[in-house]
Every structure is written in structure tokens, then in C-alpha cells.
């Protein structure tokens, strides 16, 4: 399933009064990659493909490559959990260009 497909259509908020509980039914097109301040970079020489980063990533943006793990930078929010958890210290967090 792609990022924009969903099992059910968004709730039609025009069916209820607009002065009850605030709700939002229009998904924003922004992804975490649009506002991330740090990005993970893998040192391929150190990566042993243990998949600890894959296991811990809260947004599941870790992608498997032939000899190392990489990240989908559209959805990575730059939290750095992968870098903290990597037993090989193979992941560095670097600042995004301003």
C-alpha cells in the first residue's frame, strides 16, 4: 500500500456540525523528510546487516540493500534512534543543509 492509499476514505466532516470537537480530515501532503533537521548516514564498511536499526526505527524507513541498510529519506524524521542503537556504530547523524 502506498503512502496515500487507505483502507477507508477519510471521514466526511460536512455531515456533522463544525462547532463540536475539532477534528481534521484532510491529510497534509508533508512528509517527515520535508522538515527533518538531521539525517542518518551509514558507513558501509562498518555495517554488518544485523538489522537492529530496522527493528528500532519508529517510522519503519530502513531499507535493505545488498550489503548494507539504507533509509527512505522521504519518511525518515531524523530521530537518531538507529544511530544510538547500532551496535557497530555504523550510523552517523549529520545536519541537513540549511
Amino acid at each position: 500500500m502506498s503512502m496515500t492509499q487507505r483502507a477507508y476514505p477519510m471521514f466526511d466532516s460536512s455531515t456533522i456540525p463544525d462547532d463540536l470537537c475539532p477534528i481534521a480530515t484532510k491529510p497534509t501532503p508533508m512528509l517527515p523528510g520535508d522538515w527533518r533537521s538531521m539525517r542518518p548516514v551509514v558507513d558501509r564498511a562498518k555495517c554488518v546487516k544485523c538489522a537492529v536499526c530496522w527493528l528500532y526505527c519508529p517510522v519503519q524507513c530502513v531499507v535493505e540493500r545488498p550489503a548494507w541498510f539504507d533509509f527512505n529519506l522521504k519518511t525518515c524524521k531524523g530521530c537518531g534512534i538507529c544511530a544510538t542503537e547500532c551496535p557497530q556504530r555504523a550510523i552517523a547523524m549529520i545536519e541537513e543543509a540549511a
Binding site: 487507505r6 483502507a7 477507508y8 476514505p9 477519510m10 471521514f11 466532516s13 456533522i16 456540525p17 463544525d18 462547532d19 463540536l20 470537537c21 475539532p22 477534528i23 481534521a24 480530515t25
Partner: protein, 407 residues
């Protein structure tokens, strides 16, 4: 009170805490989250027993504190459950953050406040200070006079809260000690008839945690420079409309209750012996019983005194209140709590504000009594009646009178 005893109803003797638990059981509540606190604890124990005995098929969640109590119920309510909790005093204080959010999210929760004086000084005894301290948060507040009224009002509270023109949480307040532990005759209505009265549950039609209706619940509205603040105002005004709508709904629901179950309770304010009254006393909660006795005795002596009891305190029933007191020359208001900002009782403060809408100025005085479980007796109300009579004569209100100061 009880004119017609319906065939399928049952008579029991119970205290106010047990009466509230019976009401929850009869109202088919799905989810109860609780943390025990004096004088509410036995209410929770009755509920746990009813659930353990299979009398009430609800889930009970014993959480680690009141903040979680209400957070659990938010989730349950958003998922479509009928929900209940009870608290008071310091527990209510600990609940304050989710308590603030509940009316804004328009969640029709029902919560009993077994009223207790707030700390400090240390006190585990009755007084309205806890409930009065949260009077501006946006919950509907109704104060009960008797054990039977606790039971009936707690059931009615669901019908009021879940009405589509209201969609607000309701606090049913009953006096710690006097109603929580005072046993009285109580008529239990039939389960089937309560089901017919309450109708289908429909609590999350407007906001839901439901995979089939995806939505973000309560997102940020945005700050100045965009449409955020005007969106915010729209929701705030909606909340005020819900409160005002509840006055009519509370009245309708009480009338329907009377028709179906043969017991009538005044929905907003009760006028007692107000015919031809020259002056009146105003009461709230369980003190009203002794106050009515004092009024009866005064009437027997030939005094032209009446009584107005406030049941629905939030929203304040301005029109009903001003109409009830329109023809008196003075009135005295008895509070079981303190408004620190005005050096008087909070109900007194509301009363004089409400009377601002009356064409004539009526002198009024504040009396404070019954704090920390102190008994308000007929003789206390005799003093209130005597002082209010003086006020009717000279029109010069004095400073707040503290009734139990020299008991």
C-alpha cells in the same frame, strides 16, 4: 416524591454512593475507570461488586491515579462506549488536565462528584468546595438533595449528556457524608424501562477513534495570522451553545422521567412555599431538607418566607432563578463553599449576577455553612430566615455570615 410505585420497580434502603452505583448499573455503562478517594470510595466498591457479580457487564479499570481515570474514559468514549467515573477533592484536582479537555471535545461522560472540602486545612469531610472550584470548566453540574435524587439524576445525566444538542460531560454532585453515607428508602426502576428511557447509545458520532472513519482528533487550530483563532472562537461558541441548550434538555428529560417513572424532581430550580413569600432563602444540595423544615416552621409561625433550591448550577439557570425570586423583597443565599475572590459564597455571587436581569434591585446576603462536614440544622436556617427578614425590612445587606463559626 413517589406518587406512583411502578410494578416492576423495587424498593431498597441504601446510601447515596450505592444509589449512584445502582444508577450506573441500570444505565448499561460500558466502561468504568476509577481511583478510590474518601468519601467516594464505597461507591467504587459497589461498582466493583456489581461488575464482579455480573449485574453490570462493564469493564472496570483500576488505574494509578485520576489523571489516567479520565484519559482512559476519553479513549473509551471516542471508541463509542458509555462511560462513568466518580471522584472528589484532591482526586478531582489531580484529574484537572483531562477534566479541562473533556467538554471541549464534547465527550458525554458522566462523573459523580461526592463533594468534599478542598485542602488545606486537612479535611476528608463534606463541603462543596471541590465541585465549586471547577464550576467554570464547562461541565454541566447538577446538585442532588436526596438519595433517590442521586439515583434518578445519575440515570438522567446520560440522556442529557448524550443529547445531540448538548454533547457535554455531566457532573452529578452529591454531598459527601450526608448523601454519600446517609441511608434512605430508594426506589430502583426496572432495567428494561431505563433502557427504553435512555435509548440507543450514540456517543461518538461527531468525533471517533474508529479505523472505518479516519480522522485526526483535536488537532492544533493554529495561531495568529491564520484562520486558527477564528476557528477556536467557533468551537468556543459551540461549547457555550451546548451549555445553553442543556437547560431545555435538562427540563425535558426531567419531565419525561416524571411521566415514565412517577417521580418528579425540579430540573433547574425548585420553588418551595414561594406563594406569597415576602422574602426567601436560597439553598443547594442536601442542606435543603433541613432548610425546608425551617421554612415550614417559620410559615407555621406566620412568617412569609419561601425557599428556592438550585439543582442545575452549571449552566446557571438565570431565567428560572430570576423568575422564582422576582416578587421577594430580599433573599439570603446559603453556600457550602467559599468564593475567595469575593469574600462570599459562589452561589451568592451567581445569584446576584442572575438578578441583574431582574427589573428591580433586590437586597441579598451571603451565608456560608456546612464546611468540612459541619451539620446545617434547622436552627441554622432559623438564623438565616431571621437575618433575611431583617434585610427585607431595612434593605441593608451585611457582610457574609459564617453559620458554623461558633457551633
Amino acid at each position: 416524591m413517589s406518587a406512583v410505585l411502578k410494578q416492576k420497580s423495587k424498593l431498597i434502603v441504601c446510601d447515596g454512593n450505592e444509589a449512584a452505583a445502582w444508577a450506573v448499573s441500570l444505565a448499561d455503562v460500558d466502561m468504568v475507570a476509577v481511583y478510590p478517594i474518601t468519601p467516594q470510595s464505597s461507591l467504587v466498591e459497589y461498582l466493583a461488586k456489581f461488575i464482579a457479580d455480573g449485574r453490570l457487564s462493564a469493564e472496570i479499570v483500576d488505574v494509578e491515579g485520576e489523571h489516567s481515570v479520565l484519559s482512559v474514559l476519553h479513549g473509551a468514549c471516542l471508541a463509542g462506549a458509555r462511560t462513568y467515573t466518580a471522584s472528589c477533592g484532591p482526586g478531582l484536582a489531580f484529574m484537572f488536565e483531562p477534566y479541562l479537555r473533556t467538554p471541549g471535545m464534547r465527550l458525554p461522560l458522566v462523573m459523580t462528584i461526592v463533594t468534599r472540602d478542598t485542602l488545606t486545612p486537612q479535611s476528608v469531610w463534606g463541603g462543596h468546595q471541590d465541585a465549586m472550584s471547577v464550576r467554570e470548566v464547562g461541565w454541566v453540574q447538577m446538585y442532588c438533595e436526596s438519595v433517590q435524587e442521586v439515583l434518578d439524576t445519575t440515570i438522567m445525566a446520560y440522556k442529557i449528556a448524550e443529547h445531540h444538542d448538548v454533547m457535554l460531560p455531566v457532573n452529578v454532585c452529591h454531598d459527601g457524608n450526608y448523601l454519600s453515607f446517609g441511608a434512605a428508602r430508594c426506589e430502583l426502576p426496572d432495567q428494561g424501562e431505563v433502557r427504553n428511557f435512555l435509548g440507543e447509545k450514540d456517543v461518538n458520532w461527531h468525533v471517533a477513534l474508529d479505523p472505518q472513519r479516519p480522522m485526526a482528533v483535536d488537532p492544533l487550530t493554529g495561531g495568529a495570522g491564520g484562520p486558527g483563532p477564528s476557528t477556536f472562537v467557533r468551537y468556543r461558541k459551540g461549547q457555550c451553545s451546548g451549555m445553553q441548550n442543556s437547560l431545555e434538555v435538562i427540563t425535558e428529560v426531567h419531565e419525561e422521567w416524571g411521566r415514565r417513572f412517577g417521580r418528579t424532581h425540579a430540573p433547574l430550580v425548585e420553588s418551595y412555599r414561594m406563594d406569597g413569600a415576602d422574602y426567601a432563602i436560597v439553598t443547594i444540595g442536601s442542606m435543603t431538607g433541613a432548610a425546608k423544615d425551617a421554612v415550614d416552621e417559620a410559615r407555621a409561625r406566620g412568617e412569609k418566607v419561601g425557599l428556592v433550591k438550585v439543582k442545575t448550577y452549571r449552566p446557571f439557570p438565570t431565567q428560572a432563578f430570576a423568575t422564582a425570586l422576582a416578587d421577594v423583597q430580599a433573599f439570603g443565599v446559603v453556600d457550602r463553599s467559599v468564593s475567595f475572590g469575593w469574600n462570599c459564597g459562589p452561589l451568592f455571587q451567581d445569584s446576584i449576577t442572575a438578578m441583574n436581569y431582574s427589573p428591580k434591585r433586590i437586597p441579598a446576603m451571603s451565608f456560608i455553612g456546612g464546611l468540612a462536614g459541619a451539620d446545617l440544622t434547622v436552627s441554622h436556617f432559623e438564623r438565616v430566615i431571621g437575618r433575611t427578614k431583617e434585610l427585607a425590612r431595612d434593605g441593608r445587606p451585611a457582610e457574609t455570615v459564617w453559620l458554623n463559626e461558633k457551633d
